[in-house]
């Protein structure tokens, strides 16, 4: 199989599986949050309400395709698919096992960060083209937050790269398999880098406590205010995909990816990803959100200097102790 063909087939498989997991996770989150809140959650459609998401998807598709009269209709239409596209593109370089990966780029981490960062654009386009004040405020917040958190995200992702001396995901994972997972070894920089990466991923994916761009108690629904039907569905789906993929990336570069005893690599990778994904839900349904200026202060005053320091510590560690390929 040529690399192109390989990439195409596996890309399709991974994208399909990820979208399915993202959709299923909506059901799971509804059940999980219901249990946290002493409710039952969906119970009526299918066993334990698992078909509720099918009903919801059908409902969304049936909805009238509304585009506000004063909106920029072309940009308004373009924004939701591009959000999903950019989010899903990141999945191309994530290795789910030694074999299950679409493209093993030698600049995998760079690709992940670069394409992931593009998601800010369709979000801004969505907010701007809606011609709605709440959407505009939400988009302004989203861009400020997305750009600010991109920097500590990149720097914290650099720590495993420095340790493994490679930007290729499979190299990072094999170094971890040979030594230890970067989250526990070398003790300190890896763990803190993971925490920063996790916080920044929450902020990038607009999850509580950083869901300020949509902050429905303040901005009604933020950038998604004017969206209805399947376009809204796509924007929501992109958010879940973003969370899922961020969990997968964190699992790969900090938790040793497919490395684990007894079971095949794919199982371990999926298990780690879902564990992180679950943690994000847990945080979401426990905390309230920050205010946008507090969010910025957290980023620029604490996360950014700390992540810079971590990269330096990691570099010194590699220089004196020597890890990596």
């Amino acid at each position: 199989m040529t690399p192109l063909m390989h990439g195409f087939v596996w890309g399709l498989v991974i994208a399909t599986v990820l979208v399915t997991i993202a959709v299923l996770s909506i059901w799971f989150e509804r059940k999980f949050s219901a249990r946290m809140q002493s409710r039952l959650g969906p119970t009526l459609v299918g066993p334990a309400g698992i078909l509720q998401l099918v009903a919801d998807a059908l409902k969304m598709m049936q909805k009238e395709d509304l585009i506000p009269e004063k909106a920029d209709s072309i940009l308004f239409r373009l924004a939701p698919p591009f959000t999903v596209l950019f989010t899903l593109s990141v999945a191309a370089v994530i290795p789910f096992s030694e074999n299950v990966l679409a493209a093993d780029l030698d600049i995998g981490v760079l690709f992940m960060l670069a394409v992931g960062g593009l998601v800010v654009f369709p979000v801004w386009i969505a907010g701007w083209s809606s011609n709605n004040k709440y959407a505009l405020l939400g988009a302004m917040r989203a861009v400020a937050q997305g750009i600010a958190y991109e920097i500590p995200l990149v720097l914290s992702a650099m720590v495993p790269v420095v340790l493994a001396q490679s930007m290729r995901f499979s190299d990072i994972i094999s170094v971890q398999a040979e030594t230890h997972w970067f989250v526990i070894w070398p003790l300190g920089p890896g763990l803190i880098a993971f925490v920063i990466f996790f916080i920044c991923s929450l902020a990038e994916a607009n999850r509580i406590p950083f869901d300020i761009p949509e902050a429905e108690s303040e901005l009604v629904a933020g950038v998604t205010t004017e969206y209805a039907g399947m376009r809204f569905g796509l924007l929501q789906m992109a958010e879940y995909l973003h969370t899922l993929i961020a969990s997968a990336v964190a699992a790969a570069i900090f938790f040793g990816g497919w490395d684990g005893p007894f079971a095949p690599g794919l199982h371990w990778m999926v298990l780690k990803t879902l564990a992180l994904f679950f943690t994000i839900f847990w945080i979401r349904w426990s905390l309230v959100r920050f205010r946008s200026d507090q969010l910025m202060a957290l980023c620029w005053k604490y996360l950014l200097p700390l992540s810079l320091l971590l990269v330096m510590v990691a570099a010194l560690f590699v220089h004196y102790c020597g890890v990596g390929a």
Binding site: M140, R284, L287
Partner: protein, 393 residues
């Protein structure tokens, strides 16, 4: 924090920095965090509010006018819907005003019942406030909603108690001129005690959430500082004023029902910010639990409805045809002024005036919002806790 330089509630927007690119944002009348239909017109410079103009009246139903058409018996279920979060208070206020005007003494057992209902209602009302405030801060899809569901779970148990007595969960129509309609049973006393035990235990957890969670603190401390003098000059009462250091509570300072026999502890805070208002309300919830516990077993036997001429605590008779009552509702001083001799053969009011604490609470919005962001505005509005049914009537 942002620099709040010279907050001017009456700022003329024309004189503001002409180079600033202002945005006018209508928060409401349909907005998730206005808790009803309320509109605040915000002038934003970036995300900082420079001027806020509240507009009330979207829920005006003409209750006061309606009360002139109906008899004293008929108006009680009508005023139930004013402060729809604490209907017991509305009923008591109107019943007391009528009794004051007519010079009717309320039987002791009814006074005890009213006190118990009032304190349970205060607890329920504050629980609802706590839940919705959590939602204001955390959103309907997040940790705030979790707090909301917990608070509603507790509130449901109190509504269950009311249902046991009156048959209604919400708009009770249990108070009448001269006493109460529905008597409590020994089972009610027993259920109340178990319910309060559960609520008290769970309240500990909510206090923990507020006092130990850094995000909650960061979102509330130093936000929306209300000055004590300003509170007085705007007629703000209740938990809002007490959080600003105004040590005033009608239950202690002008006792009605049987509060005169009780030692009501009044909690004050000096900070006047959202966090202080939160603390005051949380403390009041404990105090309500304590009061109900103290009196639930000592309710005297006897009739609950009577027409004996006389005067009960809290009745303010002005002359033969005018009466006034003021009680401490969960939102502050709820006053009712009634002039008798209306159209329905003398058994209705010629004029009824309700002094609602929520209207006064909403009146401080132009003073508190400027200098804060939209996010803070939502938090401030949450702690002001205005009930729109009461603002507009």
């Amino acid at each position: 924090m942002h620099s709040v330089t010279g907050v001017d509630p009456h700022l003329d927007i024309e004189t503001y920095d002409p180079s600033a690119d202002l945005m006018v944002l209508n928060l409401g009348p349909q907005h998730p965090s206005t808790h009803g239909v309320f509109r605040v017109k915000l002038y934003l410079d970036g995300e900082i509010i420079i001027k806020a103009v509240p507009y009330a009246g979207y829920l005006h139903r003409g209750v006061e006018k309606l009360c002139e058409e109906l008899t004293f018996v008929q108006i009680i279920p009508i005023v139930d819907k004013n402060d729809y979060v604490s209907p017991m208070m509305n009923e008591q206020a109107i019943a007391m005003a009528c009794e004051a005007m007519l010079g009717i003494e309320v039987p002791p057992r009814a006074l005890y019942l009213r006190t118990i209902f009032a304190e349970l209602q205060r607890l329920a009302s504050h629980l609802l406030w706590l839940g919705t405030f959590g939602m204001d801060l955390g959103g309907a899809l997040g940790g705030g909603a979790t707090l909301f569901m917990y608070c509603f779970r507790e509130r449901e148990t109190i509504l269950g108690l009311f249902e046991e007595v009156t048959g209604c969960r919400f708009h009770y129509n249990t108070h009448a001129v001269g006493g109460n309609r529905h008597d409590i049973t020994p089972k009610f006393s027993c259920d109340t005690k178990t319910t309060l035990e559960v609520i008290e235990k769970r309240l500990e957890e909510y206090v923990q959430i507020f006092s130990s969670n850094r995000i909650y603190r960061a979102r509330t401390q130093g936000i929306g500082v209300l000055d004590g003098d300003l509170a007085n000059s705007l007629g703000i009462t209740g938990p809002l004023a007490r959080a600003s250091g105004v040590d005033h509570d009608l239950r202690r300072d002008a006792p009605y029902h049987i509060y005169g026999e009780l030692d009501v502890k009044v909690f004050t805070e000096s900070a006047g910010d959202c966090f202080a208002r939160t603390l005051v309300r949380l403390n009041e919830m404990y105090e309500s639990i304590r009061i109900v516990r103290e009196i639930i077993d000592s309710v005297p036997e006897g009739p609950i409805l009577g027409m004996k001429p006389g005067k009960s605590p809290g009745h303010i008779k002005i002359d033969a045809s005018q009466g006034y009552s003021c009680i401490e509702s969960p939102r502050g001083e709820l006053g009712t002024y009634i002039i008798g001799g209306g159209k329905s053969r003398g058994a209705s009011a010629y004029r009824l005036k309700i002094r609602s604490p929520s209207l006064h609470a909403a009146s401080c919005i132009p003073y508190l919002f400027p200098g804060h962001t939209v996010s803070d505005a939502v938090a401030i509005l949450g702690t002001l806790d205005p009930i729109m049914g009461e603002v507009d009537r």
